[in-house]
């Protein structure tokens, strides 16, 4: 895996890396991908298993219930303004 490819993945994953961190990551990436690539030699005869248990759908009436208060919902936001979650200005 080349540094440029790792940068591309970091961009999709929305994680900022400093250049020297990327060097370290490349080594790890290749070691881990070698482990994961070991599956390529194994042939599969089954369909993909999405859930380990058989799951039935359970439906209930769509009745509105009390949720979090505005205060509770914004309590963990880094900054709050007028009862809303405040973020930076991102349109001109």
């Amino acid at each position: 895996m080349k540094i440029e490819q790792i940068k591309h993945i970091a961009n999709i994953a929305k994680i900022h890396f400093e250049e020297e961190e990327l060097e370290k990551f490349a080594g790890y990436f290749n070691e881990t991908m070698d482990l994961l690539d070991s599956l390529q030699e194994v042939s599969s005869q089954e369909e993909a298993l999405l859930h380990v248990n058989e799951l039935d759908n359970h439906f209930h009436e769509d009745i509105p219930v009390e949720g979090l208060s505005q205060e509770e919902a914004t309590a963990n936001a880094p900054t709050e303004k007028y009862g809303y979650i405040e973020i930076i200005r991102f349109v001109d």
């Binding site: 790792i6 993945i9 970091a10 999709i12 994953a13 929305k14 994680i15 900022h16 890396f17 990551f25 790890y28 990436f29 070691e31 881990t32 991908m33 070698d34 482990l35 994961l36 070991s38 599956l39 390529q40 194994v42 599969s44 005869q45 089954e46 369909e47 993909a48 298993l49 999405l50 859930h51 380990v52 248990n53 799951l55 359970h58 209930h60 979090l68 509770e72 919902a73 309590a75 963990n76 936001a77 880094p78 900054t79 979650i85 973020i87 930076i88 991102f90």
Partner: protein
């Protein structure tokens, strides 16, 4: 017997009989925490005042209406810090959630409190449950109470250490690939991962949705079973929680004679510490002396389980972790020149290395170009592995192996991430197949090791009954 060494069932009985007060019980644990927490670092948030208040209230309840005491009256629990206790910090051992206070209660916490359990604190773990040592925690390593130079294991390392150090009667952890069983093995306690879907995960931070399951760490099998009975049950707030009737009955006296036990053939060739191998051989001798049959059984997919696990788990966790964007909750960076920068820097500063590694791998293998080769392929092989286990269970009652091929390593020892991953070879197949498993401690010449027994899906009761028999034998 000293309070802090008593089992949950003993404490509950003595408390209900009026032999001890809840305030005395909590004080005894707090005294022990005061004496040893400095060298262990099990807690992220110690809830000393809350526990004392709850204890005083419970003593009043016992005075007024003793007939209303819950099944866990007398029992003190620690809770892994990825489970929401309303109004108490839940950090997931990450800088990202350093100040996060959940505004709601996890279903299992509601259940525990309804049965009068006392919560003594939130315990350390690997960051977002990604790791097997607690070394990835933002709050430092939890050291092993049996040898404080060594790690406690992980990810539920704080849970295991808090039980082993007698900081609480038992602990609630979570197990995605061995995170209850491996630290239990490292700290010499019992750890149970019940069948996937037995227990609600509402209010439990999602790591990998088709793997995560709540588990219990306790001093013995009977205590673990007693607490699991309270936790199990379907929940309309978690569609995957279907409950588990098999956990509800009492443990049975299960004779070990006539039992058929399979050991994966991989055990013979897999690199492991000599004393671990010897420990398994001793257990096999004891079981056969009791009249059980123990056979080495070939598995085609077991040695591929770690690769399958890391593909599917990282594939599931990468999108789960996208909720941490620095906007609605969690760490927000000062780099705010654009929204894009705010996301990328908040995540860079908020997450530790292992979390970043797993998100990056997950993002890579779930991309359009690679999903079919990795993710879909791993899901197909997961199906083969589950089928293989089911076929083994047609002929055998249980599967036996070491929980971990290693003893707890030194806290300073450098290990590559992949070396650590491969150490999970015997625990991850259980989560891939959704079955139940237990780790019970077995003494060796040095530290104790974990004996893992794996049972069939929704036959946890049978597994635990045999495990109790084996526990008595060891």
């Amino acid at each position: 017997m000293e309070i802090i060494e008593a089992k949950a069932l003993e404490l509950h009985r003595d408390y209900c009989d009026g032999k001890v007060s809840m305030v005395e019980i909590v004080d005894a644990y707090l005294k022990q925490i005061d004496a040893r927490e400095g060298e262990i670092n099990a807690f992220i948030t110690l809830m000393a005042e809350e526990a004392k208040e709850a204890a005083a209230l419970l003593d009043q309840k016992r005075e007024k209406s003793p007939e209303k005491l819950g099944a866990l009256a007398g029992v003190v629990l620690s809770i892994k810090d990825n489970i929401a206790v309303k109004g108490v910090k839940m950090t997931c051992a990450s800088r990202m959630l350093e100040d996060f206070v959940p505004p709601y209660e996890a279903t299992i916490i509601e259940k525990l409190l309804a049965e009068d359990a006392i919560i003594i604190g939130k315990v350390n773990m690997d960051e977002f449950a990604m790791g097997g040592s607690t070394r990835t925690s933002y709050f430092g390593t939890t050291f092993n109470p049996l040898d404080t130079q060594r790690v406690s294991g992980g990810s539920s390392g704080g849970s295991a250490a808090s039980v082993a150090a007698h900081f609480c009667t038992a602990s609630i952890g979570t197990d995605t690939g061995g995170s209850v069983r491996q630290p239990a093995a490292f700290c010499g306690v019992v750890g149970v991962k019940p069948t996937f879907g037995s227990i609600s995960r509402y209010g439990v931070n999602s790591m990998a949705n088709t793997f995560d399951q709540v588990g219990v760490l306790a001093q013995d099998v009977a205590d673990a079973h007693y607490i699991l009975k309270v936790l199990a049950g379907a929940d309309e707030r978690d569609a995957t929680a279907v409950g588990n009737e098999g956990l509800q009955g009492p443990l049975e006296e299960r004779a070990l004679s006539g039992l058929k036990i399979a050991i994966p053939q991989l055990f013979e060739t897999f690199p492991m510490e000599a004393a671990i191998k010897k420990g398994i051989e001793e257990v096999v001798d004891k079981l056969t002396a009791q009249g059980a049959t123990v056979d080495l059984v070939p598995f085609d997919y077991l040695d591929k389980a770690v690769a399958m696990y890391h593909i599917i788990v990282n594939g599931e966790l990468a999108p789960n972790m996208s909720r941490f964007d620095g906007v609605r909750f969690g760490h927000r960076s000062e780099h705010q020149d654009s929204l894009e920068e705010l996301y990328a820097h908040s995540r860079a500063e908020g997450f530790g290395d292992e979390v970043k590694r797993r998100i990056m791998i997950g993002t890579h293998i779930m991309s359009m170009d690679h999903a079919k080769d990795y993710y879909v392929k791993a899901l197909e092989l997961r199906h083969s592995l589950q089928g293989e286990l089911e076929r083994v269970f047609e002929d055998y009652d249980l599967i036996l192996s070491p929980t971990s091929p290693n003893f707890p390593f030194l806290a300073e020892e450098e290990l590559s991430p992949v070396t650590v991953y491969v150490g999970d070879t015997f625990t991850v197949p259980v989560n891939l197949a959704g079955t139940c498993a237990i780790s019970i401690p077995h003494a060796t010449e040095s530290l104790p090791m974990g004996i893992q027994l794996v049972g069939q899906r929704f036959k946890d009761h049978e597994l635990l009954s045999v495990a109790r028999g084996l526990e008595e034998l060891l």
